[in-house]
Amino acid sequence: MTLHQLSASEVVNLVKEKKVSVSEIIQDLYDRIAKVDPLVKAFLILNQEEALKQAKEIDTKVKKEEELPPLAGLAIAVKDIIATKGIETTCGSRMLKGFYPPYNATVIDKLKEAGAIIIGKTNLDEFAMGSSTENSAFGPTYNPWDLERVPGGSSGGSAAAVAADEAFIALGTDTGGSIRQPASFCGVVGLKPTYGRVSRYGLIAYASSLDQIGPITKNVSDSALLMRIISGPDNRDSTSVDLPVPDYLKSCQEEIKNIKIGVPREYFVEGMNFEVKDVVYQALKLLEELGAKIEEVSLPHTEYSLPTFYLIATAEASSNLARYDGIQYGYRTENYKDLSSMYQRTRSEGFGPEVKRRIMLGTYALSSGYYDAYYLKAQKVRTLIKEDFTRVFSKYDILVTPTSPTPAFKLKEKMADPLTMYLSDIYTIPVNLAGLPALSLNCGYSKGGLPIGLQLIGKPFEEETILRVAFNYEQNNKVEKRKPLQNLSPQKMVG
């Protein structure tokens, strides 16, 4: 096994045991990126010079036998919507091309303090609005399992980078499924923490009441490893919650005998992709074998999730994205007569079509005369959706569902019809509306060899439980583990 194929925990241990230098690891990773990323296009920005410098610093520490921080030498890819001091942060938008934040997101501060090294910033749908990473102003990312297909979105770059061994671990963000759906499409593990578990300070807002940062990893224990570092209250984010951060790795070790799993009936509808259905049922069978009690449950308001989400998320987005006005930073049109034309042209030229669509939708939903019928009503339905979950969680420990209705689809397949694209997040969206934690991990493959994801939904702030169930499943899953892009052949080149 070559270095870039290692998991995060393996890397951290090898560094601690002085079996390999951090510089070697980082160099190997950049070699892998040089080879693979022309195909996958997971990265927007590479931080090579800085990363190699940091690697040397850690190697010196190792030589001097100094105490190492918990993630010393761990290379991490960061979704380009998380502010990184001195590293360009574009949100996949023309609007922020050339924007270098003068500060780090709290998660970045925490990771740096833990010794992690940022290797680059990954591609995404512009301002995290999309489900395929095709909405990036800088071109799409390709699914490492099939380069004609999308990696999912909006954290498509992060998921693809981890799947293609271009990073050991990555940060994504999830507003309606943007960590879990690409994790599912790329066959990796993606965790969206409970709203308030991880600080949003420095996460460039799409929909403030839904956004969360979370890890995308090669396996469940790496997810647990990263969660331990990035979670916890932050006095820079009023919505972060002051609860102790458990030792997630330790809880993974516990059994899942007698754990109560609910399977929401509304998530298994007639006409759903049979391959997804089959693989998810097999996964449920394995969980049952491991001692879990599985029963069907009902979340009756599920069908309203999508419209509710697209009213609340776009309303917040219309306000969050208003600051990109060409005044202080970012893109400004060259061609304007007065303030009003400067605003109009800057925003017309700076934003892509999906972002504009959502800003317009959200502006409409908040407008006087429409607020009650749209935004306010959506808030009320959001409460009903939350109550569905609360009711079910009084009897069950976790819920298990597919992550996405289909495996990865082809590029351009859904770009013409936004509504079809939105349906790709139908299983993930209710979780954000309810603020719950949820994890997606691979549970098998389609006949065509595309990964299929299993979603585990937990009670608020009980990431431990879903990590434990996921870990037990992963350990006992006998299906052969596959990796994409192992033998590169020239005819696979695209773009």
Binding site: I82, Y103, S238, A322, I327, Q328, Y371
Partner: protein, 482 residues
């Protein structure tokens, strides 16, 4: 039709907390280099988040309670969305449906009669201030504008009154008394010229017989108490004239042009903005416990009204003197400080209301910055009492103190303007005056008291006021008799 003026005010006060409302930047922004008092949060940089400064909540509660408001036990922030270059996030974090305080009132007294009127306070809410645009030249001819965000995120309270003020003068008095309250609460310095207290007004004319309200206009840019009165007076006349001609008032925002003394139309109602208010998802609702409200209520400082009562009772001051002293907290403080060292309040108040206020106003200096401290003023008064200088000389000394900031005693010594206490020297001058004014002496002998005053005046003239008037008067009488 019998016309009645209807005015409601919207007052913004800047809180004197150390830090801004949602970040750690200082609130001391005046005079700093442009965009030096800023951080990612008050610049609204992508990814930054607001965190409420708890002091702001405390100050706002003090304000709301002093204005007899009810307090919403759960209050929340809203976003007010609009585009303007001085607004870095393109929304202002403000309050909307659940303001901190509501349904309050302020009882004002109208001088000179002292008639009391209760003005309803609709709401008191918290919000953030915006930056400032700077135009090269003036706004109309400038080819570009610069933005300074130093003021962005300064904590504000918005205080909205019911439309219950009945004249521009009443509006001015209300505003003065409101200022005095926020000064006494030590939440705002109330400086209108520097913009720490700002006032917009809604004004309309009502038919008092039918009670039908007229169309209102909103007046902005009134940067002093005088401007408030003048702008509103102008607007009353303007509206009355239009109504007399049968022309309809247009609902609009009008700008007070201080140099031309007129209000000018800024924008009409059809251009009114839809602010698309919605709850701010980055901040949690504010939960205010009854205990917290009680604690703040208990620790409210003495407010102007009770201070006035105390001044009347304890210092035995006439009501109008007390009224002047409480109109500006710093002036009341000045008086109280001086009082501690000086017993005769009557003399003290005369100097404070007379020389001190006159000179401060003339030089446009705030009481806090007075070059003559209360201690120094008392020093001067004691020199009079000791007979070192006369009251008249003291006024000259006062002016010199005001210019130099020196102690009275120091000035008196430097300028050798102590009173002539050498009796022989004074008698010589008295004799000379008697000799030079035989007619007056004769008049005095015939019982004309006025003649004595004249003679005393002459002695004072020769001594350049350095003689003690009582002594001179006595001396003249005696010398004439002899």
């Amino acid at each position: 039709m019998k016309e009645e003026v209807v005015i409601g005010l919207e007052v913004h006060i800047q809180f004197m907390t150390k830090a801004k409302i949602f970040c750690q930047c200082s609130t001391d922004y005046l005079g700093k280099g442009p965009n030096t008092n800023v951080c990612p949060i008050c610049l609204g940089l992508p990814g930054s988040l607001p965190v409420l400064n708890k002091k702001v909540l405390e100050y706002a509660l003090r304000t709301a309670l002093a204005l007899n408001c009810e307090i919403n036990q759960v209050s929340r922030f809203h976003r007010k969305n609009y585009f303007y270059p001085d607004l870095p996030k393109a929304y202002q974090i403000s309050q909307y449906d659940w303001p901190l305080g509501f349904r309050g009132h302020l009882e004002i007294s109208i001088p000179p009669s002292g008639v009391r009127r209760r003005i309803g306070i609709t709401r008191v809410h918290i919000e953030e201030d915006a930056g400032k645009l700077i135009h090269e030249g003036d706004i109309a001819s400038s080819t570009y504008s610069l933005v300074d965000y130093n003021r962005s995120g300064i904590p504000l309270a918005e205080i909205v009154t019911e439309p219950e003020l009945r004249s521009p003068e009443e509006a001015r008095i209300f505003l003065m008394q409101l200022r005095s309250i926020v000064q006494h609460l030590e939440v705002c310095d109330g400086n209108m010229e520097e913009g720490s207290l700002r006032c917009d007004a809604n004004i309309s004319i009502r038919d008092s017989q039918t009670g039908v309200l007229g169309t209102k206009t909103e007046i902005k840019n009134m940067n002093s108490f005088r401007a408030v009165k003048k702008a509103l007076e102008f607007e009353v006349e303007r509206q009355k004239k239009l109504l007399a001609k049968g022309i309809k008032i247009v609902q609009e925002t009008r700008h007070w042009d201080e140099s031309k003394n007129i209000t000018v139309s800024m924008r009409g109602k059809e251009e009114a903005q839809d602010y698309r208010y919605f709850p701010e998802p980055d901040l949690l609702p504010l939960k205010i416990s009854p205990e917290m409200i009680e604690k703040i209520r208990r620790t409210l400082p003495e407010l102007p009204e009770s201070r006035k009562e105390r001044f009347i009772k304890v210092y035995n001051l006439p009501e109008d003197d007390a009224e002047v002293l409480i109109s500006n907290k710093a002036l009341g403080d000045y008086f109280e400080k001086a009082s501690a060292f000086y017993a005769d309040k009557k003399i003290l108040i005369n100097w404070v209301r007379g020389e001190l206020l006159y000179n401060l106003k003339e030089k446009k200096i705030e009481v806090e910055q007075s070059p003559i401290s209360p201690e120094k003023l008392v020093g001067l008064l004691k020199l009079i009492d000791e007979g070192v200088i006369s009251g008249k000389i003291a006024k000259t000394v006062f002016e010199k103190m005001f210019e130099s900031g020196k102690e009275a005693r120091e000035i008196v010594q430097e300028d050798k303007i102590t009173q002539i206490t050498d009796q022989n020297e004074l008698i010589k001058i008295v004799d000379r005056v008697i000799e030079e004014n035989p007619q007056s002496v004769e008049d005095f002998n015939q019982g004309k008291e006025k003649a004595l005053h004249y003679l005393v005046g002459q002695v004072m003239r020769y001594t350049q006021g350095r003689a003690k008037p009582d002594f001179v008067s006595q001396a003249i009488k005696e010398r004439i008799k002899n």
